[in-house]
């Protein structure tokens, strides 16, 4: 037993730092990618370049955050992208029907939030309440939500009111709107990290049986995780609506797997109980920067997807391995 104690104190400071801030390896990758982007295309690290990056990837960042809360509890949500699609078409159609006035836009967004909330409740109910396997059950709900989105708007293309996308792409007091959004997001995430719910989600993900035996309402906690996921997916839908300025019932479908990848890149364990939302934000940006870097490096267009795929796979593997080394 004494040997174990000496081993522990010998653990390096860096290791302890990574243990405390599991997103550090991802941050390092992010910095390297930013530098490489800057080398190949100096303009990409200018204010305009960064604004463009954030504008394009804010939706994925939010969806990665959404996914993180579910993963904290050891669950997964394969319907996250479908929720984005649903909320996207709901607000687009409502804004169209109610006219594009500012209050109507806000009202439509309120309904969008409610839609995300409802989707979260449904997911939480089938996974935690009915105890179905998260992977297959949320796949089934994703089909359902996609169907709903198709019902709301059968074909892509309905435009968003100008007030909406001009705000998203615009500037206030010389500062791009998306930066305000990021600042608000950071505050919200910080506050959420201080809540009892997040600690309880992590405790459930650590060992659900132990959490139950300790007297935590495990089912209710997991449902709340899915609700958080639904709410952040709705926010992601707002961003994607602002970025694309139109409605598309399938817009979020491809984002689901990227959101899972971003969570893993950020150092969060898919098995639950360990991780940070900051990591997921960084993970989403890493995906964005890999994509832009491959473009700036002048990779022939037909090879770009392959290089991106390989780079993301390698980053995923590195993320898992560094994270594990830090924890052991």
């Amino acid at each position: 037993m004494t040997t174990a104690a000496t081993q522990q104190s010998a653990g390096s400071g860096l290791k302890r730092l990574v243990e405390r801030y599991p997103f550090l390896p991802a941050l390092a990758i992010l910095v390297v990618l930013l530098a490489l982007n800057g080398i190949y295309q100096p303009r990409s690290v200018s204010l305009v370049g960064i604004t463009g990056l954030v504008k394009t990837y804010l939706a994925l960042m939010l969806l990665a955050v959404a996914q993180t809360y579910v993963v904290f509890a050891g669950d997964i949500d394969l319907s996250a992208g479908a929720i984005v699609s649903l909320v996207n078409v709901v607000i687009i159609v409502l804004m169209e029907q109610w006219g594009g006035g500012p209050f109507m836009v806000l009202a439509a967004m309120g309904v969008g939030i409610l839609a995300g909330f409802a989707c979260g409740i449904i997911n939480g109910f089938v996974v935690a309440g009915l105890r179905l396997q998260a992977i297959v059950a949320t796949f089934a709900t994703s089909i359902f939500f996609t169907g709903l989105a198709l019902y709301v708007l059968p074909v892509a293309g309905m435009p968003a009111p100008a007030a909406f996308w001009r705000t998203y792409g615009g500037r206030f007091f010389e500062v791009p709107f998306v930066f305000y959004a990021v600042a608000v997001l950071a505050t919200v995430l910080y506050l959420l990290a201080c809540t009892r719910l997040v600690t309880r989600l992590l405790a459930v993900g650590d060992d659900a049986q132990a959490a139950f035996q300790s007297g935590l309402p495990v089912t209710a906690i997991r449902i709340r995780g899915y609700v958080l996921c639904g709410l952040f997916a709705a926010l992601a839908a707002f961003c994607i609506t602002g970025d694309t300025a139109s409605g598309d019932p399938l817009v979020g479908g491809k984002m689901t797997l990227f959101s899972v990848a971003a969570v893993v890149l950020g150092g969060t364990a898919l098995s639950g109980g360990f991780g940070t939302v900051v990591g997921s934000l960084i993970g989403a940006l890493i995906i964005g920067l890999i994509n832009s870097l491959v473009y700036f490096m002048g990779v022939p267009s037909q090879w770009q997807n392959l290089v991106q795929g390989v780079a993301i796979l390698l980053a995923l593997m590195a993320g898992v391995m560094i994270g594990r080394r830090a924890r052991r």
Binding site: I135, V136, A137, I143, G147, P154, A261, W303, L316
Partner: protein, 320 residues
């Protein structure tokens, strides 16, 4: 075959699936007379065979436990269909080379998955998700230059036209896969080792089961089955087009679950998965038959999947 209670144990989900299939066929026939005609059923079976062959590999990976899952099967199916199309380009002469190349490609990606999962201990979901991205990128590269390939005439004939006793070759192929899987799982040491690592990896390790070798083989087989399905899919559709395989990723997992193999692994088998594949295909087909639009179809499909899942073991309650 082992007799007695063991059989009853395995059969239970299978019976559920078969009863559901019959009920759906009946429902289909009522809604749209001719739905359950021999010809229609044959067409359904061809579609089910494609899914079923992909699900065979998925089934093996899931049986092996440790959160085994293969999200890259869809990518392998697409890539294989593409490679086969390019190598055949409409002529029978290319068939042997195409089969060889596709199977080798599938095995290669499966082995890469398996090595990442066993040697580097990357969770299967992450590893195969990343590999899916690589495959999708490769798809773009391979598609470049050569206009989309066409299936060899004999291949199309094999998949779509009667081959023996009025059944198309792909049905016979599927039956052969079924027999092979049953033999593999029940009568070979490898099969018993799959169940051992899936049911209790620690105990298997202590009893000398070569866990890594078995697990890598499972992913390799998953790649091979997906590649074979890709070739057949080319035969079915005549020419290869972008990302045809994507539609198989999650349905292959659902077919396995509907066949009575839980995602936790260690129990179940392929007979159930075959029924699960048919069940899924019949369900989808019934939804196309009835007169509702795409949105309604998807909603009903999603909701029905959820209801069906309730038939197949829910998770354990916290309070035992």
């Amino acid at each position: 075959m082992t007799g007695g209670p063991a059989l009853a144990f395995i059969r239970q989900p299978l019976v559920v699936a078969l009863v559901l299939i019959l009920a759906l066929l009946l429902l289909g026939e009522i809604l749209s007379p001719g739905f359950a005609s021999g010809r229609q059923i044959l067409r359904l079976l061809i579609v089910a065979a494609l899914l079923g062959i992909v699900a065979a590999g998925q089934n093996l990976v899931i049986l092996g436990g440790r959160e085994g899952i293969d999200l890259s099967v869809g990518g392998v199916v697409s890539l294989s269909a593409l490679i086969a199309g390019n190598l055949m380009s409409g002529s029978d002469a290319g068939i042997p080379l195409a089969i060889l190349a596709c199977v080798a490609t599938g095995a290669l990606f499966g082995i890469l998955n398996g090595l990442g999962i066993t040697l580097l201990r990357i969770p299967p979901l992450v590893m195969t998700l990343g590999m899916l991205g690589v495959l999708q990128g490769l798809l773009v590269v391979v598609r470049q230059g050569i206009p989309s390939g066409r299936a060899a005439p004999s291949l199309s004939q094999f998949v779509t036209q009667p081959f023996l006793f009025g059944l198309p070759g792909i049905i016979w192929l599927w039956i052969a896969v079924g027999l092979l899987m049953a033999f593999l799982l029940q009568r070979t040491v490898f099969g018993h080792r799959i169940y051992a690592i899936g049911s209790n990896e620690r105990a298997a390790f202590m009893a000398g089961v070569p866990i890594r070798t078995v697990r890598v083989s499972l992913f390799a087989l998953s790649g091979v089955f997906a590649a074979i399905a890709g070739i057949c899919l080319l035969g079915y559709s005549g020419s290869s087009f972008a990302n045809v395989g994507e539609q198989y990723m999650l349905p292959s997992i659902i077919a396995v679950v509907f066949g009575g193999t839980p995602l936790a692994g260690g129990k179940g088998g392929y007979t159930g998965t075959m029924a699960g594949a048919v069940l899924l295909v019949v369900l989808q087909s019934i939804l196309t038959t009835i007169n509702i639009d795409e949105s309604g179809r998807q909603m009903v499909f999603g909701a029905t999947l959820l209801v069906l899942m309730l038939f197949y073991g829910r998770g354990r309650a916290m309070r035992a």
